[in-house]
């Protein structure tokens, strides 16, 4: 592997890592702060991708808006969906055991897949890359690098910075962190913890859906796409430490590197490399790299 190829592979690794962070950060938010094992997280990602596919012609036709209008509308819809789901289902889960949470959220996966099948069908669909981002940059004489992939990375970095700011610099962030540590105490201080949780959950759903929408042009849109990201999301959250945004970022980048170079160096074992990494890290730090709180 010469230097240019190596550098391109590093770029690939970082880019994949950032995409993983984008998908997994909503999960670590919900899992870490609210203590709910949300198996339906992948379905929210899937819903996002299908929204990008289904909303594009509608919004394009009605308002003449492009991809960014779709992102905006999709995110708002996802917030609403998250808000309603929390009110209707998830709010009953906080006091329950993990097994019941797993059962309910697994049921939700099946329901959402079936609804998807009824509404959109089982075909594979593509979403067009928005024209402004459709270019590509030359990389060496053989390859080019799509601008859209750089855009995805930029969205991920912006989101990471945004989440960090909200968590550490704002009153809302402080309340959320306090709520994660001691729910009753926060409640007795006169803070509406139910509303707070509802907001956090809606934000988690919106981030997952945003990830799906942003990833749709490169990943295409297909049945079962939600479950394909779910497992790797949990790996990110567990390696990073449950509830830690910083941990999720570091873990996602680590996985990006291990997965990318694993495929090249040890192709026959590339499927297990990421899980080996998880096992090693858990032996070393059973609570993950950066446990929240």
């Amino acid at each position: 592997m010469d230097l240019t190829t190596f550098l391109i592979q590093c770029l690939n690794a970082v880019q994949y890592g950032l995409l993983l962070f984008l998908v997994a950060s909503g999960l670590t938010l919900i899992f870490g702060i609210m203590g709910v094992i949300n198996l339906a997280h992948g379905s929210f990602y899937m819903i996002g991708a299908y929204m990008a596919f289904a909303l594009t012609p509608i919004i394009g036709g009605a308002f003449g808006g492009g991809f960014f209008a779709v992102l905006l509308v999709g995110t708002v819809l996802a917030v609403l969906l998250g808000y309603v789901l929390e009110w209707a289902f998830y709010s009953y889960l906080y006091e329950r055991e993990h097994l019941q949470q797993v059962l309910m959220t697994y049921g939700l996966i099946l329901v959402l897949e079936e609804v998807r099948s009824l509404l959109v069908g089982d075909d594979v669909h593509g979403v067009k890359v928005p024209p402004i981002l459709d270019g590509s940059l030359p990389l060496g004489d053989m390859m080019t690098y799509p601008v859209y992939r750089l855009f995805i990375s930029a969205v991920c970095i912006a989101l990471a910075i945004g989440m960090w700011l909200v968590f550490t610099k704002t009153r809302l962030g402080m309340m959320i962190r306090a709520g994660a540590t001691n729910r009753e105490m926060v409640q007795s201080l006169g803070i509406d913890i139910k509303f707070l949780y509802r907001v956090v959950f809606a934000a988690g759903v919106a981030i997952a859906a945003l990830a799906g929408m942003v990833a749709a042009p490169v990943s295409s849109v297909y049945p079962g796409m939600g479950s394909s990201v779910l497992i790797i999301c949990f790996v990110v959250v567990v390696i990073g430490g449950i509830g830690s945004i910083k941990g999720a970022l570091v873990a996602a980048l680590l996985i990006g590197v291990v997965d990318t170079f694993g495929k090249l160096v040890l192709p026959s074992a590339s499927g297990v490399m990421v899980y080996l990494l998880m096992a090693v890290i858990l032996l070393w730090k059973p609570d993950g790299l950066f446990k929240a709180g």
């Binding site: 592997m1 010469d2 190829t5 391109i8 592979q9 690939n12 690794a13 880019q15 994949y16 089982d122 075909d123 594979v124 669909h125 593509g126 067009k128 590509s136 030359p138 990389l139 060496g140 053989m142 390859m143 080019t144 690098y145 799509p146 859209y148 992939r149 490169v218 990943s219 295409s220 849109v221 297909y222 049945p223 079962g224 796409m225 394909s228 997965d259 990318t260 170079f261 495929k263 090249l264 192709p267 026959s268 590339s270 499927g271």
Partner: protein, 393 residues
């Protein structure tokens, strides 16, 4: 002791019941109906393929007035969900509970292998209308097991031959690391190296991982004359789009087996334009047989047929040939098989015969993506027979 007695009585009852069941179909055979057990996916990722196969099968039966060899056809259906874990239970429902005369299924190779094993044990006739696992007409082959589709080796080998003939000297292969991927790449390598080509690298990634970027970079660094790829469904869409986005399509032409561009062109758009693939069927073949079939199918089901519909249709044709030879008596397996070995099946894809290991001996088309069609640009391999390695009938 009491329990032991009870158990043994239960066992005797069960044994008696089993014997009774085993005798029952022998009585049933006469001029009654033929029971066809359709074990296809009705839910899950492959549901659409299952529907196409079933439609194709039923179209042929309907064209014959609902009778094959003068016997009325009755269908029993089981949704196999493309789940290998449930395959044994599902196939036993059809064989033991419903006493079907013929099994038809399925799409997923893992499930089809379980069906083949069960059919081999029970002696029930089995026609596989899709699953390409080489083993079905290889080590698992049996006098009562047939396939109306293809073996994974076939399109791979044909593409290897074609690429070598087109002057491609070096190639890199890329696929998912699972049975179908391995088998197609093996076929490709055999055909390509026989023609004097050299496979520089065999890249693969775990199923169903679709993060291709690292491997695409590796292809660019390896600089082969061409790339051979096997992916299907969502993975195929993403691969073709990523390949084009990485700028490789201009410098290193992309070839593959038909699954790379079948049923996915809408989603792949312009990125698939010009990609060449091999398969035993193509869009707009333009033969009278194919046109008639396509028209009839579209009229009956309000759907455009595809390769899966053809495979279902031909499964029914094969059953008709066999049944005619034994006059509807499915217990005469040797005669049934002999008739098929001698038959020429007039398929919409073109006439094919049946190899000694019961796989179609068929023309493999070279297709090129033009607009939203996989247009045939010629025959990649004429009357290609799977070697049937490991088969001893």
């Amino acid at each position: 002791m009491f329990n032991a007695q009870r158990l043994s009585r239960h066992f005797r009852l069960a044994a008696a019941a089993a014997v009774a069941l085993a005798i029952a179909p022998a009585h049933a055979q006469g001029q009654g109906k033929i029971k066809v057990g359709l074990m296809l996916p009705a839910t899950g990722t492959f549901a659409a393929l299952g529907t196409m196969i079933e439609n194709g099968f039923k179209l042929y039966v309907t064209e014959q007035g609902g009778r094959l060899a003068g016997r009325e056809i009755e269908f029993v259906r089981v949704d196999d969900e493309s789940d290998p874990a449930k395959a044994v239970d599902n196939v036993n429902k059809l064989i033991k509970r419903d006493n079907v005369d013929v099994l038809v299924g399925t799409v997923h190779s893992g499930v089809a292998m379980a069906m083949a094993r069960a059919a081999k044990e029970s002696g029930t006739l089995l026609i596989v209308p899709n699953a390409g696992a080489d083993a079905v007409t290889g080590p698992m082959c049996a006098p009562n097991i047939f396939r109306s589709s293809f073996s994974n080796w076939q399109p791979g080998y044909a593409m290897g031959q074609t690429m070598a003939a087109r002057g491609v000297k070096t190639a890199v292969s890329i696929s998912w690391k699972y049975a179908a991927g391995d088998e197609m790449v093996r076929g490709f390598k055999e055909g390509f190296e026989k023609g004097g080509g050299k496979v520089l690298k065999e890249l693969n990634l775990p199923f169903p991982n679709v993060e291709f970027q690292a491997l695409l970079t590796d292809i660019a660094a390896t600089r082969p004359d061409a790339t051979f790829a096997f992916f299907a469904g969502g993975g195929a869409v993403k691969f073709v789009k990523d390949y084009a986005a990485a700028g490789l399509k201009r410098n290193i032409p992309l070839y593959g087996t038909g699954f790379l561009t079948d049923g996915t062109l809408e989603a792949q758009g312009a990125d698939a334009e010009g990609v060449m693939t091999t398969l035993h069927y193509a869009d707009s073949l333009g033969t009278p047989r194919d046109s008639a079939f396509r028209l009839a199918f579209a009229k009956t089901f309000k759907l455009q047929p595809d390769v899966y519909a053809v495979q279902g249709y031909d499964a029914a044709q094969m059953l008709a040939v066999g049944l005619a030879a034994v006059k509807g008596d499915v217990s005469k397996k040797r005669e049934f098989a002999a008739a098929l070995r001698a038959a020429r099946i007039d398929s919409p894809r073109g006439v094919f015969t049946i190899s000694p290991s019961h796989n179609p001996v068929q023309d493999i088309y070279l297709r090129q993506v033009v607009g939203k069609e996989n247009k045939s640009v010629g025959i990649a391999s004429k009357a290609l027979a799977d070697p049937g390695r490991g088969c001893r009938v």
